[in-house]
């Protein structure tokens, strides 16, 4: 086993990992940073974010308004100290990206342009046309090339953390081009590996989003938090699930059912707004959870349009005009034509809700710390409780910047102060165990299960049991199914026994991670007998603040289902209230 010694190791080189690495390199060039990822940085899924990043910049806006939108959008499950810190830091981080060269779209006077986004009372979403995440990722990646203290390990697949005396000491990763195992020893580890949307069958998420970092921390004894909150984005292309940004609606696009009727007005988001006029925080600019739920109700009423890929409604942008679409939504036009054969300039685009984002993740606090000394997490991997029960669009790109920088500062302070002795033999013992787990999987023979088969059963079970609407019965079925699938997972046999770029092996490891995290989603949802934000129970339709104004924690229990526990929500100045997205709301 090869050994790499570093000061701070970051797993994941998307937006969150890169921002963190730059923050360390900029302020402490004497610290060695190892940046490890299973893909090259520019392949990270940050690239697929389209609409933009929220931050208060214009004179008509205020930090209080951004705070209120975020807390209400999250159905009061956000930690309000975290939200406060976030809205305050957000503009600085977006300005920093401007200074690093992000090609933000501009007003005619040269100032940055902002667009409306769902659930936001004021226009505050900075954007680079409809490729905001792509540009943020490449700006960060290219900027990171400036810093000699950042050493990248591209295409290294991280398997598990090493922990001694309750402290995180590093991890074991496999170099994908050789199959060689590496033991990374670090004084602090920051996980930035993204979400786990690929556990669902129909998702905007890229193939790489398999929750590896979240599962690693979970196995090491760090709880996940609020995993039952899964965001369905209301507008995905039918066959592929490709995202059509909320910016479509921000720019004036509307949703219509089979009769051409703008049905959102029937679900507490009316009255209907004039076509081509965007009225903030109502109708199509309501929050994602409400819009996806409205689709489900329309489906029940028979108002959706049946297609060979399932039921759909229409996202109509035909009134926006070619010039506006080409300027503000060029990617949306390209994607619709390429992947759905529909030109949004000429025809409404058939869409349906699609799994997009996990509000839950590794339990972290306002300092991006986990419960384990020396281990930090940031971005979709983490749950700092900014987003509560439903994330507002354009808060997550800003989140990874704000908390990337914060994680860096706190990891640096930790590394400077940590005096705990490093037990090398203990770490090596663990590393050997991790290696043998991989070797066993690689060499196992006589198995009858297939990766694709188990993956499909897992995904279908989650969609059926833990989708937009859930019940005790459907969730219990899913929980049972997941326990069964975890047992059957042990019967997988790999056909590929080779060392070089063995994607059979990596897919098996990814599936193992997804299965473990899927249990935290389903078990958390089963235990939460209320409806809040993205978690909707047909058998418990109301929000229950007495019992469930709490974060769900899930603890790993080996082969068994997780142990569920709860954690207080931080409420500072906004007591739980009513989410009002009607046009009459104040």
């Amino acid at each position: 086993m090869q050994q790499i010694k570093t000061d701070i190791a970051i797993v994941g080189a998307g937006g969150a990992g890169l921002r963190t690495a730059i923050a360390i390199a900029e302020s402490h060039p004497d610290l060695k940073v190892a940046l490890i990822s299973k893909v090259y940085p520019m392949r990270s899924h940050t690239c697929a974010a389209e609409g933009g990043a929220a931050g208060v910049i214009k004179p008509d806006d205020s930090l209080d308004l951004h705070f209120n939108d975020t807390v209400g959008g999250g159905d009061w499950l956000s930690d309000q100290d975290v939200v406060e810190y976030f809205v305050n830091e957000a503009p600085k981080e977006l300005l920093q990206l401007d200074h690093w060269g992000c090609p933000w779209s501009r007003e005619s006077d040269g100032s940055v342009a902002v667009r409306p986004f769902g659930g936001m009372k004021i226009k505050r979403t900075w954007f680079a046309a409809d490729k905001s995440g792509f540009h943020i990722l490449h700006t960060l990646f290219q900027t990171s090339l400036k810093y000699p203290s950042i050493e990248r390990f591209d295409e290294f697949f991280t398997i598990d953390l090493t922990v001694t005396d309750g402290h995180c000491r590093g991890f074991v990763a496999m170099e994908m081009k050789s199959g060689q195992m590496y033991r990374f020893d670090a004084k602090a580890v920051i996980l930035a590996t993204g979400g786990a949307g690929r556990m669902f069958p129909f998702s905007t998420n890229g193939a790489i989003k398999t929750g590896d970092g979240t599962a690693m921390a979970y196995r090491a004894g760090v709880p996940t938090k609020d995993m039952e909150f899964v965001q369905y984005h209301p507008t995905g292309l039918l066959s592929t699930g490709i995202l059509l940004t909320e910016g479509c609606r921000g720019e004036g696009g509307v949703l219509r059912n089979k009769d051409g009727y703008r049905y959102l007005q029937d679900y507490g988001m009316g009255p209907e707004t004039p076509l081509g006029e965007t009225v903030l925080k109502t109708m199509e600019l309501g929050p994602r959870d409400r819009l996806s739920q409205a689709f489900w109700h329309e489906q029940q009423k028979g108002n959706t349009i049946p297609t060979r890929w399932g039921d759909s409604v229409h996202l109509d942008m035909t009134h926006l005009g070619e010039k506006h679409i080409d300027e503000r939504l060029p990617l949306v036009r390209d994607l619709s034509i390429t992947y759905a054969g529909v030109d949004p300039v000429k025809s409404p685009v058939p869409i349906r809700p699609v799994v997009h984002y996990m509000m839950g993740g590794i339990h972290t606090n306002i300092d991006a710390e986990t419960t384990m000394p020396g281990l930090y997490a940031v971005g979709e991997t983490a749950c700092a409780s900014l987003n509560g029960a439903n994330r507002l669009g354009s808060n997550s790109l800003t989140e990874l910047l704000v908390f990337g920088k914060r994680a860096a500062a706190n990891a640096i302070a930790y590394v400077r102060g940590d005096q705990s002795a490093f037990d090398y033999s203990g770490v090596q013992k663990q590393a050997d165990k991790i290696e043998s787990k991989v070797r066993e999987l690689l060499q196992r023979s006589g198995g009858t299960e297939s990766i694709a088969g188990i993956r499909k059963e897992m995904a279908d079970s989650l969609e059926n049991g833990a989708g937009i609407y859930r019940t005790e019965e459907t969730l219990q079925q899913t929980c049972d199914k997941l326990s069964e699938l975890r047992r059957r997972y042990l019967g997988i046999e790999l056909n590929d026994k080779s060392n070089v770029f063995n994607t059979d092996l990596y897919q098996a490891l990814e599936l193992g991670n997804l299965l473990e995290l899927a249990q935290t989603v389903a078990e958390g949802a089963l235990a939460r007998r209320e409806s809040r934000g993205s978690h909707q129970r047909l058998d418990h339709v109301a929000r229950d603040d007495d019992k469930f104004l709490k974060h769900t924690l899930a603890y790993y229990q080996g082969d068994e289902a997780p142990r569920i526990d709860y954690h207080d929500v931080v409420i500072t100045r906004s007591p739980p209230g009513v989410r009002d997205y009607s046009g009459e709301a104040k």
Binding site: Q96, D98, G101, R106, G110, V112, A207, T240, L335, F501
Partner: protein
């Protein structure tokens, strides 16, 4: 639902086992709206799990799945199977790169070259965050915006006849990125990039065959960028000659 029959003829190479790459053939029944990547995923999931290739986003933005399809560099996720209906499509790794395994190529050369052109904002004095944003007019943005669209898929390198002949050539995507920053009104680093861009294997190695722009799945037009870069390099050289170096 209508189906399409295609046959994928995929280059296979396992350096631990194979002396030479060879082709393996997979007939695939596809849905008519599939891309070649979907057909490859079908093979991977249901026919031959040992097949190795890179992919992630399936929306032509992560740049992972560049391959040669019938000799032309393309993103597998953006190549419709209907273009290859009822016939054989030959899938090979991107040309001009060493093969790591099957359709996976070694990218180290590009990663090194990208870093060498200093693809980041260089300022004589950093602007502080308190001073707010750089003002940049829509016209100033337009000067370089197109060149920011590169997804590093490397299709342009696979198409470039000069890169095939002269591996030292910095090549279309990396040089385009140098030009992108040179053209950004927030940047003052043109002189810092000059050495790399102006050396023989820099912009001047481009023979303006234009293949790069033809195959670019994001319409970046690297060939156009390189011609502009040559002019800028010459101007910079003359400025240096009369003692006006730097931007």
């Amino acid at each position: 639902m209508s189906e399409i029959q295609i046959t994928l003829e995929i280059l296979r190479y396992d350096p631990e086992k194979d002396q030479e790459p060879h082709f393996q053939t997979y007939p695939v029944t596809c849905q008519d709206d599939w891309m070649v990547l979907d057909a490859m995923n079908h093979v991977k999931d249901h026919v031959d799990t040992t097949l190795s290739y890179r992919w992630s986003c399936h929306m032509a933005v992560c740049g992972s799945c560049g391959v040669m399809i019938d000799g032309a560099p393309k993103l597998a996720c953006k190549a419709p199977v209907r273009d290859y209906a009822d016939r054989t499509a030959r899938i090979e790794p991107l040309a001009n790169f060493p093969i790591e395994r099957d359709l996976v190529v070694v990218m180290d050369d590009f990663m090194d070259k990208l870093k060498r052109v200093k693809p980041y904002i260089i300022r004589k004095e950093e602007k502080s965050i308190e001073d707010g944003e750089h003002r940049q007019s829509p016209a100033e943005l337009k000067k370089f915006k197109q060149f920011t669209m590169c997804i590093n898929c490397l299709c342009c390198y696979a198409a470039c006849p000069q890169y095939a002949l002269i591996p030292e050539f910095i090549g279309p995507a990396a040089l385009t990125m140098a030009h992108r920053y040179n053209q950004d009104s927030r940047d003052q680093g043109q002189a810092d990039r000059q050495d790399e861009v102006a050396k023989p294997e820099g912009a001047w190695d481009c023979s303006f065959a234009g293949e790069c722009s033809e195959v670019c799945p994001k319409h970046v037009d690297p060939a156009g960028a390189l011609q502009q870069l040559k002019i800028a390099t010459t101007v910079q050289w003359y400025k240096g000659l009369i003692g006006m170096g730097g931007k």
